[in-house]
Amino acid sequence: MSKFKKKKGGELPVISTASLPDIVFMLLFFFMVATVMRDSTLMVKNKLPAADQIQKLDKKDRVMYIYAGEPSSRYTDKYGSQPRIQLNDKFATVSEVAAFVLAERATKRQELQNVLTTSLKVDGDTKMGLITDIKQELRKVNALKINYTTRIGNYTQNRD
């Protein structure tokens, strides 16, 4: 029966890759939409403490970040191992916090300037003295809404 005659030559049929760009584009768009770019590189250790009574910081445009903790291993030669504050890409002292907040506030839109939240991303092993100093500075410039940014987890994870 000629209908079922085997084709000559055992070559594998070529898989069409014409739809590959479509698939890749689909993934690309997903990541483009979901992406939030990190605007500063971390220069401090930043193992956040865990908490479970938390609220989300949804609107990124009304948040400013203050990092604090021990300088990470790359910077310990230069800056020592005492906990420090990081603002944008630089180490800073407590007295620079107020100026930073004012500068950040000035870059935001008028209607958002009063609803800004300061997110404190502080390493769990930092002492409260530094955080209290930051809080006092924030009070001076009337940036009263703060958020202690944490990992999601139970408080018992904070023990080690």
Binding site: P21, F25, T35, Q55, K60, I146, Y148, N158
Partner: protein, 208 residues
Amino acid sequence: MAKRSAPEVNAGSMADIAFLLLIFFLVTTTIETDSGISRKLPPMEDIEDPPIIKQKNIFTVVVNKYNQLLVEEELTSIEDLRSLAVEFLDNGGGEGEDACNFCQGPGDPKSSDNPVKAIISLKNDRETSYKVYISVQNELVAAYNDLRDREFMRLNPNDGLTFVEAFKMYSDPRTSFDQKKSLKPKLNLVKEMFPQKLSEAEPSKNKN
């Protein structure tokens, strides 16, 4: 002249370009949103003649420089903090106009009058570790949330939501306007019943 069809552009490298972009976004992406404990700092101005608060309405929590927890001047472990705070807030020991008609606590006259009057005072040392401080904050907020959940469910049994869930729904931008409008008074009512009165003292200096 014969009509020539337009030459087709080779799209073979399209996939490469797209891959390149894809990898770039894959590397720079951080999908998760930040979350944490939100607090409001008191404004800087000094209050002249501060209101007199009865000692029994204050629940003192102290964390010393050795990260030990003192609740009402007694050494306590952090596991017990939440239940102690709930017991204090929910005590309802007031009489007359201070009486609390929804409290389920023992009504001890030595403890707080009602949740509106009750204040939790948190004090920490400069040497206290941030982890411990966050744990304590977390447990105190949890105490408030537990009580608010209870009252929210009692007042709105048909919603099938706890206070925390309802609040989350309220702050979610996807929730419709009508739903938000119906949630808002319910949330505010419970917030007024259990206002978060968490006062933080200026930290004690380490003198030794």
